[in-house]
Amino acid sequence: MDTGLLDGLTIGLQATLSLEMLLYCFVGVFLGTLVGVLPGIGSLATISLLLPITYHLPPVGAIIMLAGVYYGAQYGGSTASILLNLPGHAAAVVACLDGNPMAKQGRAGVALFMTTIASFVGSMLGIVALVLFSPAIAELGLEFQAAEYFSMMVLGLIAASTLTSGSPAQGIGMVLLGLLLGTIGTDINSGVTRFDFGVTELMDGINLVALAMGIFGIAEVITSITNMRGVKASEKVTLRSMVPRINELKQSIFPMLRGTSVGAFFGALPGTGPAISSFMAYAVEKRVAKDPSRFGKGAIEGLTAPESANNAAAQTSFIPTLSLGIPGDAIMALMLGALIIHGIQPGPMLISTQPELFWGLIVSFGIGNVMLLILNIPLIGVWVSILRIPYEMLYPAILIFISLGTYSVNNTPFDIYVVAALGALGYCMAILRFDAAPLLLGFVLGPMMEENMRRALVLSRGDIATFIERPISAWLLGFTAIILLFATSRALIGFIRSQLSKNKENDEMHTTP
């Protein structure tokens, strides 16, 4: 069934233009912005917290809400960056660079206003890209069999783990740990329970929400308690102060478009998302600028381009998830988990078998972004005053919410203990500077990878070469190898360089009297 664009949009509108759906959309984007504004709790934690609540909602409504949290957070994230020099989450770090200087110059209102506009532009154009490319990629995905799925997942995992911070070996190690944690529980094929250590509750495996909340949420709280001590936002922001100068608006048009292209591209790739897109967009702007020295001191392009980028990326990261069923990062993995829980099989068939879901989601993105635009401008003042609540009053509530949210999945206190245990693990990982996102990806994809590997081997009668003999699979593994090579050489060069400079230091130490 090949739906044309207009038909698709009609289906989507029919699915979303009900008070119920619009409410879910609103709740999602509102929560998303709120959570994006608040440092110390991110969209990942919120989405996992909301997962159990969405069980009671119809699948379309559930995904609309969760997606709203995701791209809504990209609107709010820069608020704390601008006002407090404290990013709300990774993708908002870049906003500190030029946003905070602008605030210090008394231009916080303009900065906040422009980031909202930039976010809107980035999102809307990102949605266009999403609509244009998803059906085409889904067509390609129909050629996929078990071997191709396996290779695609390998590519996604390797890309995600090597392109993040830290050495590629670390990232891959995290993925492997996630894969391992995913094997805990009953193996579907054989009925054998693995790694349950005799504990009944572990026979279903580790609860996804408990894992996400523990490793990301609890760990973040523990680190934030010390980091957030004594930090306060000072400014009061009025509506009048938000109006930018005309030439600033003009200056921002091309940066927004450039940022959107960067974001749309990197968002669709597995392993890269809003955070990396915002860094890239900043780098591009600086490279293209007539006077690069303005950057870091309040250059408006340094603020608007990354904002468009991270919003565009947030939209396009749905492309691989919806058209192939392969998540590009941890949050998409959660979305996928949510779909599976609702009994929806993600994959290339999704667009044709569940057109209301696909098109409904797309239309909700558009509606959601419009809501955000309207919401954010008057609410900027509200966000600012919320940021004044000292973190010490906030975090006990956050902890209880996390525990309760996890509990509500299975109504068993065991899950709360799991959160604590994984929180301990997550904190240790954070201290050791090991990035946890690849772990989540590995955890969600693990069972699927094993299943596809097993199936591919059954189909090929035990011939491992099938992964290289089948053309699409070979290409995917080829890309994986290229990424691995690239990452390894980068790591090696960095290592050699650090050794050389260490030797230089030692020489200098010995020669100076």
Partner: protein, 149 residues
């Protein structure tokens, strides 16, 4: 001044250790053959890879620079204890009491005066009751089961 990159050493060796443990533990599950992968196959494979990559992380770290590790023990212990306490107390004490007790404990990671701690705990108990039991009508015990017959 020869600070090794302790972080990667500890992390890498831990990963390798976990991998070794997993690979060994998986031996009790049937491996099957390539044509019919058994439940033990995948975990063993991952375990072995983990050993490799764990060492790959740890060994270069012996030659690299690192910064001292800062472990916030007080926050760590307080937060974890408060969560475990919550899990313990939820059924026996019901939500509001368990929430109040647990948040009271967790406030000790901060530096607010005692009165503020008590106030925060009570307000959290009230808020969570309203949101979770009133608003979302989740089936969570709200009254201590000790009081039930």
């Amino acid at each position: 001044m020869n600070l090794k990159d302790k972080r990667s050493i500890i992390g890498g060796l831990s990963l390798a250790g976990i991998g070794l443990g997993a690979a060994l533990y998986s031996q009790q599950y049937p491996m099957g053959e390539l044509t019919q992968m058994g439940p033990g196959f995948f975990p063993t494979m991952i375990g072995i890879l983990l050993i490799g990559f764990g060492l790959l992380v740890a060994i270069p770290a012996f030659f690299a620079q690192g910064t001292p590790i800062k472990f916030e023990t007080k926050s760590f212990v307080v937060v974890l204890i408060s969560i475990v306490l919550f899990g313990f107390m939820l059924h026996p004490l019901g939500l509001p009491l368990a929430a109040a007790l647990s948040s009271f404990v967790s406030t000790f990671a901060g530096q607010k005066p005692l009165k503020a701690k008590i106030l925060i705990s009570i307000s959290i108990a009230a808020i969570t009751y309203c949101i979770f039991i009133f608003g979302l009508s989740m089936s969570i015990p709200s009254w201590p089961s000790l009081f039930n017959s």
